[in-house]
Symmetry: C2
Subunit: 284 residues, 2 copies
């Protein structure tokens, strides 16, 4: 009986002409099963004694389907989502670190605006400036602050690690996107589109606005100005361009990104470098 | 001149009877300066040539005042605030970890509800169960997830470290509060009151509701039920008590906590153990 179940549940699909076609991996792959045999099989499904077995088989096949459904898309999405999460977390903790350490050395907070450098400088130099308003804290207290700084540094490192990982993953899965959009922007586009497949199927005007949904719907609802770019705003090609031409640059970049997504999804050639050069020349 | 500035700016205060009294640490401490001498000093302040010097001195004294204003209160407040921050951060990251690792082993997420144990089990056992719906991920991907798990574990450790530090700090600064309220609740009470001094001056009914401000103002505004406890709710004496007696228990605990704060602030004796026993017997 096993054979029938598997076929009926897992590997039969209706083809375009609504004819039952056998898609299993066993012999006579593309041969349609004769109608008579099918009705014979189907009759068995009325037999109650097969119901528990039928149920078991169904679950097994579903589990198998779930197992094989995990793709690079999901791994990329989780990794880039965690990068965003890490940014948030680092921000929360650095704010606290700045407040805490300012009891000891309030001048440093003003002097260094970069979070990463601030953490670095707490960890490297242990002496504060002599003419400081800060209290002279005991080693007991400073050690506690240092522990926090160390932890934050580790989080910064994890974030960098994630970027390397994403680069490795994407260089195999979507080399064109990786080349043209860069690691973070590329991964974020896939995250927003939910998968590379969907990204490839989106019109380039949608790609241009991915990540600007809030502004877009505000535009539709209240008639405010329409957004010109979503996450691709942070792309260096747009950052370099003068303000008045940024909308145009975003449109051109989105065009090429859309092409890249299609090349990657349908396993086409590697054209991103040429696209990049083209854009750079046009936007000069 | 220096002497006059210092006295006039830093160490003169009006006493209750609005008489100028010298509070400096030099000799003749409690002797009031004769009125005549004071008017002589004050005349110098009209002289413009002293203005820059005067300004400098003012800043110096202010800096000194700021420097000495850092007390145990602020260190406790920063440490307990960071503990809260860490809870938030760990929560954010564990949620992501659960989603990410579930691609590989979705069954584990359901099986272990404690965040800390979940992280532990990812780090310790490397093999998932055989009959799993999860995808078989390469070591490349699993290593990345493991890195995140390691980081979260370090954050858990930092949180524990903070508690030890707080315990050390509070055992010297407010032993009574520490004994009766415990580390976290005690530190949170000081955080909410802003300082041990203010906590000592608050009526015990306010101590009872510290941390329940939102519910209290909703009660005042809309007439909803008044809150019965604030942060002291997590205290084991209240947790152990039956629901209908919890309000009463909270009132009794707040009474004793208020006494403890006063004992600690005015450097009184150590009575918290006796109070604890008394409460435990009454609430049995």
């Amino acid at each position: 009986m096993d054979y029938y179940y598997e076929h009926l549940l897992g590997t039969f699909v209706f083809d375009n002409k609504f004819k039952l076609v056998n898609k299993g991996k066993k012999k006579k792959d593309s041969q349609p099963i004769p109608q008579k045999k099918i009705s014979l099989i189907l009759e068995n499904f009325h037999d109650k004694k097969y119901f528990p077995e039928f149920y078991q088989k169904n679950i097994e096949l579903t589990k198998k389907a779930i197992k094989t459904a995990v793709s690079e898309d999901q791994l990329i999405i989780q990794a880039i989502a965690n990068t965003t999460e890490l940014d948030r977390v680092i921000n929360i903790l650095v704010k606290r670190l700045r407040e805490w350490y300012s009891l000891h050395d309030p001048e440093l907070d003003q002097k260094i605006s970069s979070h990463e450098q601030y953490v670095e400088s707490i960890l490297s130099k242990q002496k504060k400036e002599k003419v400081s308003m800060g209290a002279d804290l005991d080693q007991l207290h400073l050690a506690e602050i240092n522990r926090l700084a160390k932890e934050i540094k580790a989080l910064f490192n994890l974030r960098k690690e994630h970027e390397l990982y994403l680069e490795k993953l994407m260089s195999g899965y979507c080399p064109n996107i990786l080349e043209l959009a860069g690691v973070t922007t590329g991964a974020r586009l896939i995250e927003l589109a939910k998968s590379l497949k969907r990204l490839a199927l989106l019109p380039s005007s949608t790609v241009q606005l991915l990540g600007a949904e809030k502004a877009l719907f505000r535009h539709i609802k209240t008639g405010s100005r329409s957004p010109k770019y979503g996450v691709i705003f942070s792309h260096q090609l747009i950052q370099k361009t003068k303000r008045e031409f940024r909308g145009k640059a975003a449109r051109m970049l989105a065009d090429k990104l859309s092409l890249c997504a299609r090349l990657d999804f349908f396993k086409g050639e590697f054209k991103a470098k040429a696209y990049k050069k083209e854009l750079e020349e046009k936007l000069k």
